[in-house]
Symmetry: C2
Subunit: 449 residues, 2 copies
């Protein structure tokens, strides 16, 4: 029985008279058994926590929970690692960076607790509040625009920026700087970077990925709302199409250059490589043991000079990328998943994968063997005054250590990649991504205990 | 056999040597039978028209065309009316307004011809060029990011703004002002309008709707590219979730206020009402007979003060809307599709649908019986410096006559609707939407002949 069908079969008073009893605090897909829950919880109001503890408990311990049944379209929030990293990349993204405005450690921890509980509910396809009805005289606990929508494979992935540990004035606001991970510093200024501070950095981040953008936007909106008075949205980015596969089960998608992107990406199935290149190891960083099992998230908003690219010949485009366009096969031959052969030369004696081709420069053999797990998205944010689309790639990568796995490669690419002529890096951020959350814990708990 | 499977089974030379033959000009879903089409067409270059005539002909006359087989996920471009109006509203939107920079009627007509042919190809799920291969030494005819994606129910709907007929200086650039439709003037300044000229008006518009945003964005990008030198993008808007149903087969979606939106919308199945309220009649406007079978498109970018709304009690929210939130039933009683009863009073003797409730003010009984067909979308475009989401409703409505079907209602709503406290109208545009296109014609042809 669908949610709608249940609603339609629910007896209603006609006409509705005011005041009516509390309602609306329901599973997005199915009404909970609400016997005993119908009494008004009072005007708990906006900052009251919305009974989030219920949701956290139910997530772990109630297999009879209605939204746990037949939920093939959801990913569990709890686990050894956070979801949304090796999880097969969903189709849509809403990414948000926040600055913490509260000044005490207790307030920060309280926010992380609330976010965790809300994330459990949201990834279940439940409303914020996890089924706790709101009072009719109070604002609804959940903003409601995802009511009736399935979980849509929503994942919520949380990260901590360097400024959470030490702010711009050098203050350790929350007493955590002695545990700051070694690699967690602002990314350096790379050659040709043209960064907009309003699209860069941040104390906290949330990556919301889902197959339905309304579900992702709803999640960020409600997390932002829960943060009111504690943290404020600094920047956010919608992405409409994934540009990487993170599982062998997925087709390789295309970026706005029209090329398949992420063919050589790390895949979830390559567990040994993922362990080696994505997850922070237990012994990596003695000062930051809390990060073991976590990762680093690199975010770069890369604008594409689309109109210029679109006037470039197919030959030049393919040479710059190092792959053919129809299939994504390396120019050294084969099909999409044939490894590039950097040694093959053409009849003119020059390498088919030229010195400035992206495939060559990004190949792990040219980068001390390091690999990264990319999880980027195409974006389009309107146009400029000259009618040029503000579009490109919101690059997201997860790496074990930015000092070995991102900064050297990006330094090289920024200086030598022929594609740089068609790109502008406009936003930049680095976050430490805590490990997964166990039932009853909150995200990043080991940092604070 | 899938596109990918076909590609993988295609013999390839290994390694690829340069130059290679032309390729890449393929159906997005299936390779055409390309025998005889493999020869280079020469460096036709960027502005060459991309063999679009082929596509137009193929659309009409080639049922054996590969992309016509098994294409349950596409809507035909040709028809008595343009698609994208009564078509069941797709999930995603990319809307674009253009200013014509060319100065001659011949250039404008040429653009409309190219757009028409490209629209036929794109709505088929083909590349721009409709299967004509591009030259390897020239830019690809199609930008490529939708290669491998199905048509995704793409519709492309074209409109003409008042400034196409008479520009800001009063010039009739294209010799068409004597045929300007009576209702086609800039919309008036409504109470509380706070319009941004950079998000308003335009000589031409294209509404791209699809179930996959990458397909909609790809279409606008390629139409914008075809327009290079003739028309420039003025503004554009992505929408991630529909806010109206246009067919009885669809569930009513929710807007960012969390309420079902468009319950009372005109539906495609109500053909008598659609004829009465959406399509311009043959005798409506003797000076603009070319518009018969067309419509007017009203676009309004409405920002929602989401943070304020989210602090409003559920009681107040429901009273302002005039419907309950869980189900969308009118507060006068019943279920979602029960007609609102404006006369029912509560125990306090006041109407349950208050004088400032949206449902009452927008009800056709309060608006001389007029109805409109709404086709709006939720949007989120990042956030402002205070961390508030720039989000809301991109309102799109199709009406037979804006002077009777939109302006009076919006004047009333702007002055009296309680929801206005939570809204800001930031963009505004009106377009005349020509009737449907027959095979071999171009969109709006009757205006120019």
């Amino acid at each position: 029985m669908t949610d709608d069908a249940i609603r339609k079969s629910t007896p209603k008073s006609t006409p509705k008279s005011i005041p009516k009893s509390t309602r609306d605090g329901v599973s997005r897909r199915r009404l909970f058994g609400l016997a005993g829950a119908g009494a008004a919880v009072g005007a708990a109001g906006f900052a009251g926590g919305f009974g989030v503890a219920h949701a956290a408990e139910a997530d772990a311990f109630d297999p009879a929970r209605s939204s746990d049944r037949g939920a093939g379209d959801r990913y569990p929030f709890h686990g050894a690692h956070q979801a949304g990293i090796v999880t097969p990349a969903q189709d849509r993204l809403h990414f948000a960076a926040f600055d913490v405005t509260a000044t005490t450690r207790a307030e920060l921890v309280s926010l992380l607790r609330e976010w965790t509980a809300a994330a459990v509910a949201l990834t279940h396809g439940d409303t914020v509040g996890g089924g706790t009805p709101g009072a009719y005289e109070a604002p609804p606990p959940d903003t409601g625009e995802a009511l009736g929508l399935p979980p849509s494979r929503l994942t919520l992935t949380f990260g901590f920026g360097p400024s959470l540990f030490r702010d711009a004035e050098g203050n350790d606001r929350f007493g955590i700087d002695d545990r700051r991970p070694r690699g967690l510093r602002r990314l350096p200024h790379f050659p040709k970077d043209n960064l907009d501070p309003a699209r860069s950095d941040g104390d906290l981040c949330v990556q919301a990925c889902a197959d339905d953008p309304q579900v992702a936007v709803h999640a960020i909106r409600n997390l932002s709302r829960l943060a009111f008075g504690t943290a404020a949205l600094r920047w956010s980015q919608l992405g409409f199409g994934r540009t990487s596969s993170t599982s062998r089960t997925q087709q390789t998608p295309r970026n706005l250059f029209g090329f398949k992107d992420g063919t050589a990406n790390l895949k979830a199935e390559e567990t040994r490589l993922v362990d080696q290149h994505v997850w922070v190891g237990a012994a990596d960083d003695p000062k930051a043991r809390w990060l073991a099992g976590g990762s680093y998230l690199v975010a770069r908003r890369i604008t594409m000079n689309i109109e210029t690219w679109d006037r470039t010949s197919l030959r030049e485009q393919e040479n710059l990328v190092g792959r053919d366009r129809p299939e994504g096969a390396p120019l050294s031959g084969g099909t999409e998943f044939t490894p590039p052969d950097l040694t093959v030369k053409g009849s003119d004696g020059k390498p088919l994968l030229t010195a400035d081709s992206h495939v060559r420069l990004a190949h792990h053999s040219q980068n001390d063997g390091v690999r990264m797990l990319r999880r980027g998205y195409n974006f389009t944010d309107g146009n400029d005054a000259l009618g040029r689309l503000d579009a490109g790639l919101f690059f997201v990568a997860y790496v074990r250590d930015p000092d070995t796995h991102y900064i050297p490669m990006q330094t090289r690419l920024a200086a030598r990649d022929g594609l740089m002529e068609y790109l502008q890096h406009r936003g930049s951020a680095l976050f430490a991504v805590p490990p997964g959350v166990r039932p009853g814990e909150y995200v990043g708990q080991a940092l604070f205990t």
